[in-house]
Subunit: 266 residues, 2 copies
């Protein structure tokens, strides 16, 4: 399994605090030592930092921890390999372009027989993970359904929720997907989220001896949502998502959600 | 205009020496202060570091200078903006997937009326540069010509050379393109290359007071080609490419080349 972390915010916000906690799980407080990656959006542009090294030992992770890149949307992943070897091409997040936007995706869980059950025709994986294959299949389905006409966000992400249910039937599919504007989270069995807004308080990391006082880091109007497989702080109240539940976040707020009926594993 | 740098090698090789010279041109010894980016291939995987900040002031450029990432293929670009504002989505190199490989591209020069002359139907740009638009057009043409059947390298890159001539008719098109295995360089007016192999000697950067003794950094069988808009060292003999010339490199060697007849600017 792996760990996911994502952020949606209404002002460019750095994720150094949450990232510094998560990174400890990549070889120190957690077993996720098979690489890590993070993608930051700045407007329509995005940039990724990736390393097949354990995050707790990675010089690039150290840079990302200490260099506050301000972003409205972030997706991060630390990996414990199951399908696909430890290599750069198997390291999440994966980014592809669609409708003139960068789409970024990270997955937690294992899927069986993706090649047989989720055939791809247009978008081909570079690496050997079940995760990237499922992402390619989603992009194929979006193309077949909507071609070059991007639908409204509600139509689009409701459709992606239905696709997630189908993928989840092959195993476990906790996922974060963003195009920089919207952030979609689908929970198979393991996803939590928290929205921070005024009045801000202090937060204490679980995985490192770090306390932050958000009052000093924010303004009154800031709204920031953080999503993670497991809560990153132990003095705040995180929402635990239920099986089959999804949320769509935009500018730090949950703007839509749904509860899908899960199919039995095939 | 911008500066290009690329590398093809037969063993994973770091590009710290060349990069540290080029980075000085991003605000110190050169005017290319509108962002920079570099993409490293490690097998089929690749990772990019990008910053819209001037490279001579970028903490990420400092990391890349000091952290020897070993790679068989690299493409790097520092930008002096002309078409498209200074932003992450307008920062080269651009990477897209095709035939299960990451394709990376960086361009030097200016092109007129790409939207009218090079219409795209399948691959859409994210940013606002003439460069990314031309890359999307190339990918569209590859899809229309070869669909999902990847041709041999010779057929493929000879075709890309023909496309380059057509693009070059809209202005200036010096370009580096790689899929991690092959590195293609097309010269409109400004591209140099050098192949280093045993017996190795010393090299002295033009843009910084740095001398390297490759004898200490290499083994007898290493073959490394570096391509750059302008030579990076002043004590070695670089090949100056002619207008309309292209080279295809693989594992550090030039394995094919050609000389196209340039069309007049439209």
């Amino acid at each position: 399994m792996c760990e996911l972390l994502a952020m949606s915010a209404n002002v460019p916000t750095d994720i150094c605090f949450s990232f510094s906690g998560l990174m400890q799980r990549g070889g120190n407080t957690g077993p996720h030592k098979d690489g890590w990656g993070i993608t930051f959006y700045e407007g329509k542009g995005c940039r990724s930092f990736k390393d097949p090294l354990p995050s707790s030992q990675s010089p690039i992770a150290e840079l990302v921890t200490n260099y506050p890149i301000k972003s409205e949307a972030v997706i991060c992943h630390i990996r414990q390999a199951n399908s696909g070897g430890i290599s750069l091409e198997n390291t999440h997040p994966f980014t592809r372009q669609m409708w003139g936007r960068n789409w970024t995706y990270a997955h937690n869980g294992q899927l069986k027989n993706v090649q047989g059950e989720l055939p791809v025709q247009l978008h081909f994986p570079v690496g050997a993970t079940d995760s990237e294959h499922a992402f390619c299949w989603i992009l194929d389905q979006l193309h077949f359904k909507f071609a070059d006409k991007e639908p409204t966000a509600t139509v689009l992400f409701t459709f992606i929720a239905k696709l997630s249910v189908k993928i989840n039937a092959l195993g476990v599919f906790n996922v974060n997907i963003t195009n920089g504007q919207y952030l979609f989270a689908y929970c198979a069995n393991n996803l939590h989220w928290i929205t921070r807004r005024a009045p801000f308080g202090k937060a204490r990391l679980i995985d490192a001896e770090v306390v932050i006082n958000f009052t000093e880091e924010t303004t009154e109007s800031d709204v920031v949502t953080v999503i993670a497989t497991q809560p990153l702080t132990n003095n705040e109240s995180w929402h635990k998502m239920t099986k089959g539940q999804w949320h769509l976040f935009c500018l730090g707020e949950s703007i839509a959600s749904g509860q899908e009926v899960l199919m039995a594993e095939s």
